[in-house]
């Protein structure tokens, strides 16, 4: 009952005109960003963070805006998958497999509306999962001391590469690079400057927002320039949508699929390092095993459209659980959302639920509201979004670049930060060419200071004894999971990854 009353409080917070308007704006922008190839959820949220700050929004409104963008992007990704056979963002790539064949058969409208419903079911159930699971996780997290936190951070980094990258050495490199960048600046414990090379601008450390926008948004602009596909991928004649309601029989046929894959996707989302791409991938594979008796998957089976969509939206909700309850995000976009919280001076983790219940429950209520808005937007209004697919990148990309610059300049007003951002953009471009995942870098810059502080606190408490890190059963368990999570993909991961990465191009470096 306690949960329900807190949820009711949350609705009281979320149901103001300002917050509703922000949720609507977020849902709209999110769907657009998800639908446009080249702008994924992490990009979208990254570009909008600085704007949320400079607009002077408080903690809850900013979070409502940005998580609506996050959910919206998860919905939007399917539009270009179905109509153009190009995933709008990474998690939507599994939707291409059957969504596009369905559209070819002249059932584009059915595919779009069915996947809209599936997205809704997945996201709705996952939000309930978040409500039920996050407080339980908080209870466990309250048992954590500094040593356990250090182990938890290590776990997050070691499992992150497992699925998102094809090469464990490269994801380890990325994590170390991010952590190294986080150590730049004045040491918080002793006050000595580290790696600043006498540059005063660096004493505060690198602003992780600058790093995120540079790595994600600017590197995307460079990729487009390099490949010079400046014209829209869409042909007008391909975009015939047709009827926009799924037949009831189709819905009925897909209901068990949607329920199963929502659960599976949610679990995949909660697991560290997995994220929505894995959610949609394993949902599709499981349904193929379970219900594909006649071998219709891959030829436009409606169940095969519902499965990955329910799975990826459920995973998106699931990924919020570790981010909110433990402060350790499991995917790229939740890492970006963590950046929002940190910049607002809110420390996620168990104390968030105790100290800022208004933020948590307001956010959860907003997720419910956003879900209904998205359902409304994505079924009757889907025609509007298909039209937006016609915007060519030669117009879109300059806007993305300029809005990134405006956002960062708006925060600090310094050219130095803009130069740092360009530097990160170049770095992101080169690393993406080399297939080094970017998410561990972001996570490293975000969590580096917390990780180091926990390490030093743990050892100082125990008078300089380094063995204290593996003394409690809880921390031993975390280390074991971390090591298994790192080693297992080396042994069995190759096959799964090969399947998953078959269908992706360079956009994949930003995994979610």
């Amino acid at each position: 009952m306690d949960t329900l009353s807190q949820l009711a409080d949350g609705f009281a917070i979320a149901l103001t005109w300002q917050n509703l308007l922000l949720a609507l704006l977020g849902c709209f922008l999110g769907t657009v960003m998800g639908a446009l190839p080249g702008l994924g959820p992490s990009n979208g949220v990254a570009i909008l963070i600085p704007l949320a700050f400079t607009m002077g929004l408080g903690a809850t409104p900013s979070l409502i805006l940005l998580t609506s963008v996050y959910y919206g992007a998860m919905y939007g990704g399917r539009i270009s998958s179905i109509l153009l056979n190009i995933p709008g963002d990474e998690p939507a790539m599994m939707t291409c497999l059957d969504g596009h064949p369905m559209a070819r058969k002249g059932m584009a409208g059915e595919a779009l509306s069915l996947s809209g419903v599936a997205s809704f079911v997945g996201a709705f159930l996952a939000t309930w999962g978040l409500i039920l699971l996050a407080p339980q996780l908080v209870k466990i997290a309250l048992l954590f001391g500094p040593a356990e936190y250090f182990a938890l951070f290590a776990l997050a980094f070691m499992t992150l590469g497992g699925v998102s990258s094809t090469n464990q050495a490269k994801s380890a490199f990325a994590a170390a690079l991010g952590l190294g960048l986080a150590t730049i600046g004045v040491d918080t414990q002793t006050g000595v400057p580290r790696f600043t090379f006498g540059e005063v601008h660096l004493y505060d450390g690198l602003d992780f927002l600058v790093a995120i926008v540079g790595l994600f948004a600017l590197s995307e602009v460079f990729i487009f320039l390099e490949e010079r596909h400046g014209s829209a991928e869409a042909d007008a004649h391909q975009l015939k949508v047709g009827r926009l309601t799924p037949p009831l029989s189709m819905l009925k046929q897909c209901t068990p699929t949607m329920l199963r894959t929502s659960l599976l996707g949610f679990i995949a989302g909660v697991l560290p390092g997995a994220g929505a791409s894995l959610g949609s991938f394993i949902s599709y594979s499981m349904e193929k095993r379970l219900v594909d008796k006649e071998g219709t998957f891959g030829t436009g089976d409606p169940r095969a459209v519902a499965a990955p969509e329910a799975g990826n939206n459920a995973a998106a909700g699931g990924a919020l659980v570790p981010m909110l309850a433990l402060g350790v995000p499991g995917s790229g976009t939740t890492a970006v959302l963590l950046a929002v919280l940190l910049s607002l001076n809110i420390t996620p983790g168990p104390l968030l639920f105790a100290n800022n219940p208004d933020v948590v429950w307001g956010l959860i209520a907003a997720l419910f509201i956003a879900n209904f808005m998205l359902l409304a937007m994505n079924i009757p209004m889907v025609g509007l979004f298909t039209r937006l697919l016609l915007i060519p990148p030669r117009i879109l990309m300059p806007i993305v670049a300029m809005v990134s610059f405006v956002g960062i300049y708006g925060i600090s007003g310094s050219s130095f930060d803009l130069l740092v951002m360009i530097g990160f953009g170049i770095m992101g471009w080169v690393l993406r060419k080399l297939d080094v995942p970017l998410v561990p870098i972001i996570l490293g810059t975000l969590l580096g200071n917390a990780m180091e502080n926990n390490l030093r606190r743990a050892i100082t408490i125990d008078n300089g004894n380094w063995w204290t890190l593996i003394e409690s059963p809880l921390s031993i368990a975390l280390w074991v999971v971390a090591i298994v999570g790192f080693v297992l993909p080396l042994l069995i991961g190759r096959k799964v990854k090969a399947q998953m990465h078959e269908r992706r191009d360079q956009e994949g470096a930003i995994s979610d």
Binding site: L51, T54, M55, T166, N167, A169, K170, A172, F173, A175, A176, L177, L179, G180, T183, D187, Q189, T190, G191, V192, R194, F195, V221, F222, L225, E226, E227, R228, G230, P393, R394, I395, M397, P398, I399, A401, M402, V403, F405, V406, Y409, G410, G413, S415, L418, L419, I422, G425, I426, W429, K433, L434, D435, M451, E452, L455, R456, I459, T460, G464
Partner: protein, 143 residues
């Protein structure tokens, strides 16, 4: 080959990082671990993973041709100039020029690139400055 170069670069980066970590001046009021230990651990991971990349490289990535490379380099130069001249030229002019350049290089014709540039710049100015009240760089003409 790219991965081997990348691995060598990573090892050099790790050594450089470790050396500058050693050079951190310790404060007389330090905790049991000190400011050096964590960076040294990081440097070790950085070095080890670079070594693995060096020894077991992936397939060669598809590098762009020289012309495309120059394209990216040109965009980087324009962005750096944008960052430097933003406070001097003011937001609207600098942004219009930079956006027009990017749009032109992405394949717009000169006229439509100019239109995109001016449209982007004025659009952002109206939405973010006039409506949302964000402070943007002021040029000699006040915008």
């Amino acid at each position: 080959m790219s991965d081997r170069i990348f691995g060598v670069f990573g090892i050099l980066l790790a050594i450089g990082f470790a050396l500058s970590a050693m050079a951190i001046e310790e404060s007389f009021l330090s905790d049991a671990v000190g400011p050096k230990a964590f960076p040294l651990i990081i440097a070790a991971i950085l070095g080890l993973s670079s070594l693995f990349i060096l020894l077991r490289p992936d397939e060669e990535p598809s590098w762009p041709s020289l012309g495309r490379f120059a394209e990216v380099a040109g965009a980087i130069v324009v962005m750096i100039l944008y960052a430097e001249f933003l406070p001097v030229a003011g937001f609207v002019i600098a942004t219009a020029v930079a956006a027009a350049y990017l749009s032109w290089r992405l394949g717009s014709s000169v006229l439509s690139a100019l239109a995109t540039g001016v449209g982007t710049s004025v659009g952002i100015y109206v939405v973010f400055h006039l409506i949302l009240g964000l402070s943007l760089a002021r040029g000699p003409f006040g915008f």
